[in-house]
């Protein structure tokens, strides 16, 4: 600890250097070989395994676990990558408690699922550390595909297209590839620059060029892209954030959780990253949880998540909520922000109104509460910025503010596919983005070669 531990305001260096490295180390240290073998032995090799159905990328889980158990970790990695080329990241960030592990029959048997995610990490780490590549670029087809966004959806799409021999160019607005893997995922889930290692591992197949700093809608239009390529895949994620609609929102110290996390993820030295003494996070999803936990890990004394509905309505899983609680985050429910209090333009607190459900509708009770705060994070959801698509040519059809697609990932425009967070009806998970990118690539390939 340092003399700035309890300093008011938003200041850097609240902790001593060893505390930063300890706090931001791997959330779940990797299984060693012995642990992996013991865990792999627990898998029953189920028929038509429920876990496999619950994985959005349909990894053959019983097969890869059996491969680990028989001492064939590289074979296990290939089984995983066949379905999910970002299996390494997914092993770290998937909320397995609501996906594969939730339905593992050993969850039903004894309340302790096989640690599928951890085993997946064991296998993928083995292959990636050995630099083992399983796929070769297909014989060149001469077809050119543009991918917009180098997030999980774009990368998965590009890799599958390269396997088929198509030339892929990824246009990425940000200076680095990886999407939210690089700029959004909590730091303790993916330490040691894993996101960039994975980008390199995925693109090592060849035939994929990433052009950074080029944004659709700013540097070129969709109709241009479509004209210059045989197909276009949109994997742009969600560039916008929802507004709080509370008075005083523009005060100094109020910010978007995703922006703060992006800054954190790019920080070279976390001790130089300022954080408030008392932090309030508004929201109830994974982003709110991540922002709150990381605020605590940076040394904030008091971190409170305020959510406008009840615990059972939160998007963050029970596991994530418990994780936050274990890190000392306070989660409060049924509170709606009304006003941000400020002095000299700087946040001093936030006034919230208690809420309740009346006939299924949320309403304020009139009673209010004021929490002291020197920093407020908004984490009430991201939104798709359709503006980037509006250039020349026909408008793409949206649904609920995001891109409408059909069962194969085709948008309303010819030659244009989409996947990941930017499409309607998704569940905003890395693994789903991978599945959608991969499947769109299959559809594109069919269309180009058919």
């Amino acid at each position: 600890m340092t003399d700035r531990q309890y300093a008011d305001g938003i200041v850097p260096g609240r902790l001593s250097p060893e505390h930063y490295s300890h706090n931001f180390a791997d959330l779940h240290p990797p299984l060693d070989r012995h642990e992996a073998l013991v865990e792999a032995d627990r898998c029953y090799f189920c028929y038509d395994a429920p876990c496999m159905h619950a994985c959005p990328t349909s990894i053959d889980i019983p097969l890869f676990i059996r491969e680990i158990a028989t001492g064939n970790a590289l074979g296990a990695a290939k089984t995983i990558f066949d379905q999910n080329i970002l299996g390494g990241m997914c092993a770290r960030v998937c909320p397995t408690e609501t996906l594969c592990e939730e339905v593992c029959v050993r969850e039903e048997a004894e309340g302790k699922p096989v640690k599928i995610g951890q085993l997946q990490r064991f296998a993928t780490d083995a292959a990636m550390m050995a630099g083992k590549q399983f796929y070769e670029r297909g014989a060149p087809t001469g077809k050119r595909v543009a991918v917009v966004g180098a997030g999980p959806a774009g990368l998965a799409c590009a890799h599958r297209l390269a396997m088929y021999g198509h030339d892929v160019t990824i246009y990425e607005a940000r200076p680095k590839a990886g999407g939210l893997n690089e700029y959004g995922i909590a730091a303790y889930k993916t330490p040691q620059d894993f996101a960039q290692h994975e980008v390199d591992y995925v693109t090592a197949i060849g035939g994929v060029e990433i052009v950074n700093g080029k944004a659709l809608g700013r540097d070129f239009s969709l109709s241009q892209l479509a004209a210059e390529h045989d197909a276009v895949f949109l994997g742009m994620g969600l560039a916008g954030v929802n507004a709080l609609r509370a008075e005083g929102e523009e005060a100094d110290g109020v910010g978007n959780a995703v922006d703060y996390i992006a800054t954190l993820r790019q920080a070279k030295d976390l001790s130089e990253l300022p954080i408030g003494r008392r932090v309030v996070v508004v929201g109830g999803g994974m982003t709110a949880i991540d922002a709150a936990i990381q605020s605590r890990l940076l040394g904030a004394e008091e971190v409170t998540i305020c959510y406008r509905r009840g615990r059972e309505h939160m998007n963050a899983s029970v596991y994530e909520q418990d994780l936050a609680a274990s890190k000392g985050v306070i989660i409060r429910h049924w509170l709606l922000p009304k006003r941000v209090n400020a002095e000299d333009g700087k946040v001093t607190g936030i006034e919230l109104e208690y809420t309740r459900l009346a006939d299924g509708r949320l309403e304020g009770t009139g009673e209010t509460l004021t929490l002291k705060a020197d920093q407020v994070f908004k984490a009430i959801g991201q939104s798709f910025e359709a503006g980037a698509l509006n250039g020349s040519g026909a408008a793409i059809a949206l649904e609920g503010g995001r891109i409408r697609i059909d069962g194969e990932g085709r948008t309303s425009l010819p030659k244009v596919w989409a996947g990941g967070d930017c499409i309607a009806g998704g569940d905003d998970l890395t693994v789903s983005a991978v599945a959608q990118g991969r499947d769109a690539a299959e559809s594109i390939h069919q269309a180009l070669m058919g």
Binding site: V38, D41, Y44, Y47, D48, A49, P50, V105, A109
Partner: protein, 436 residues
Amino acid sequence: MADIRSNFLGIKSPNPFWLASAPPTDKAYNVERAFKAGWGGVVWKTLGEEGPPVVNVNGPRYGAIWGADRRLLGLNNIELITDRDLYVNLREIKQVKKNWPDRALVVSLMVPCEEEAWKAILPLVEETEADGIELNFGCPHGMSERGMGSAVGQVPEYVEMVVRWCKQNTRMPVITKLTPNITDVRKPARAAYAGGTDAVSLINTINSITAVNLDTFAPEPTIDGKGSHGGYCGPAVKPIAMHMVADIARDSETAGLPISAIGGITTWRDAAEFLALGAGTVQVCTAAMTYGFKIVEEMAAGLSNWMDAKGHATLDDIIGRATPNVTDWQYLNLNYVTKARIDQDLCIKCGRCHIACEDTSHQAITATVNGVRRFEVIEEECVGCNLCVNVCPVEDCIDMVSLAAGALDKRTGQPVSADYANWTMHPNNPMKAAAE
């Protein structure tokens, strides 16, 4: 409290759990520890004739196979008989017997197949006041190449001859230890019986290779690039040992011959099963070598708790109780019909029963019912084979239910007959037709 004291050939021990002749009984240090831990008796590691002792390999002497979580299921070894001086062993045996008069102490012997050799060693053993001797006709490696161990045990005439020499030259009870490396174990048992043996013990270890090293292409355990077959023991051999014990127990030619059972005994339950098949005591090696001597506490307590729960007062109430129920296939009741039944509350829906039955057997278990994942037995197809029970990871989740007489067997469309009818009576049996 059930009385688990054992009296085997007049050799008394506080419980029927003996340590088999093997490394756990190779010297006073180990045997003292075993008795402190509560073992009822030991068979001392096999002694050889006077002179320079045998030598063991100086590299690995064990190989193994494992189940889930590296649980040791089978062990093999290429160890020989004791490699310690005969007189050191005899002195220790005498002292240990003196220290532990209430425990059984039997001495295992293996000397060349000559009467003089046996005549020479028997008085030396008698002098220790040990309770009896066990003739090692079983060791399947090394010693057998020198005409001893299983080389004797595999020739019934030799077995009878050596047993007779021993009976003529000692007052001590003689237990003949049989090798399983033979097609019909009743033959050497009958030979030992004819020679006058007081009991048989079985099984010794089974010829085996446990693994091949895929880097060096040599069998394990590997000694300087080569390997030899070794003797297999541990949980994996228990079914083989049980069959052999039962075969001797129900052989009318050796009726009443006491048996000390050996082979894979690891828990009280294993021991109780051997006793039920007709054994008077049980001997343990691998389980002790895997977990140490403390396991005898679980064995003794488990056996006595089970006997209390079932109202068995002494070992005599259980010994041989299962023997009459071991029969030949041809006498099994073909009118006995069972169907698998899955307890849906216990089922964790792993689907193993389904795929086992679907891929390899009778297509009698569903995977879905009305589009929902659900495993149910299709009685029209189920032959009652028990495969699903054996592959199901949840104990008691699948039950084999026998159909009452008169009930409809949906597979055959026939009602279940109340009559006992076996193969010898079956119309499809050509031998039956011939007999008529």
